[in-house]
């Protein structure tokens, strides 16, 4: 009777461990799958951000014509172009901001003013298609050419990709 019980206990213990392994593997595979999906999602976001950066920095609609390497935004073009026009070119699900960055503090006193047709040229910020919602933000240094003075400054292009 005792021997039979001992054998039974062994099988119960073995079955328990086998079950434990199956459960653990299920959790591991689920976790792995989740992390793979997460990293794929991140990769897609980076690719989309990179596409938008390359599109913006080479677009003749916002860049100064004489710079073949691109990334030289012209402030008058930035002010004239609209969100609708950009969305027709690059689709939806994103927003973009361009900000003048001045290493020497005294040079541009209007750098915090958002550029519109009314405030131009005494402004240093541009914003396109920004709405409410969570977004992953990526940034890229660029140059901005001030058409009125001929000054070439530095700027930051920020692209936000909305969570879909």
């Amino acid at each position: 009777m005792m021997k039979g019980q001992a054998h039974l206990m062994e099988y119960v213990l073995l079955s328990f461990f086998v079950l434990l392994v199956i459960v653990m593997f299920t959790f591991l595979l689920t976790g792995w799958q989740m992390s793979t999906i997460g990293s794929e999602k991140e990769k897609v976001k980076y690719s989309k951000a990179e596409f938008l950066f390359r599109a913006f920095t080479n677009s003749p609609y916002i860049n100064k014509n004489t710079y073949k390497e691109g990334s030289m935004f012209e402030d008058s073009k930035l002010t004239a172009i609209t969100c609708d026009e950009l969305q027709q070119l690059y689709g939806t699900g994103w927003y973009a901001e361009v900000e003048w960055i001045e290493p020497v503090d005294t040079y541009l006193e209007f750098k915090d003013v958002t550029c519109t047709l009314d405030t131009y040229p005494e402004c240093g910020k541009w914003s396109y298609c920004k709405t409410e919602g969570n977004a992953m933000i990526y940034e890229l240094p660029i140059n901005i050419h001030k058409k009125t003075t001929g000054k070439i400054g530095m700027g930051m292009l920020r692209v936000g990709l909305y969570e879909s």
Binding site: H7, R54, E102, P141, I152
Partner: protein
Amino acid sequence: MGKKISGQTSMILIVLVIVIFIALSIFLLISSIKPTHDDYYNLYAHNLLLSVLRWDTGLGGDCDTISSTISCAYMTPYTRCGLSDCRTLAEEVVPQVVGSIVKTNFDYCIIVEPENKTSYEETMIYGPRCDVVQAKSTRWTANEKILQYEANIDIKMIIAEN
């Protein structure tokens, strides 16, 4: 017979425990590998260098842009630019300009050398933690060339997470 079954059970249990540990280790190893997104950071490094080199210093002459200031600092270091000479100006302005735009979690290093550098030619280095940046295993590099009469200058920017 009973002892044989007991031995087999123990063996199976040991194998199962080993399998659990191996699976767990593989999972943790894979989870710890972070994707580096090289394309984005290469683009970032290239644009960072380009935007810094093009920046208008407002001084005109030989130090019109950061690019011309670096070139002047290398070729004719004692030429006057504003209140100081080219080399001193470059040492002050380059870190200030790069520091104002680079991501706060990144270190940078700018290396200026003549094209086809020989052993007796000088290398100019800008960046507060160049040795740390160069020692990092994950880093991104951008290269530009300043075209000069008789001597082109190579400029390399290396960025790495701090």
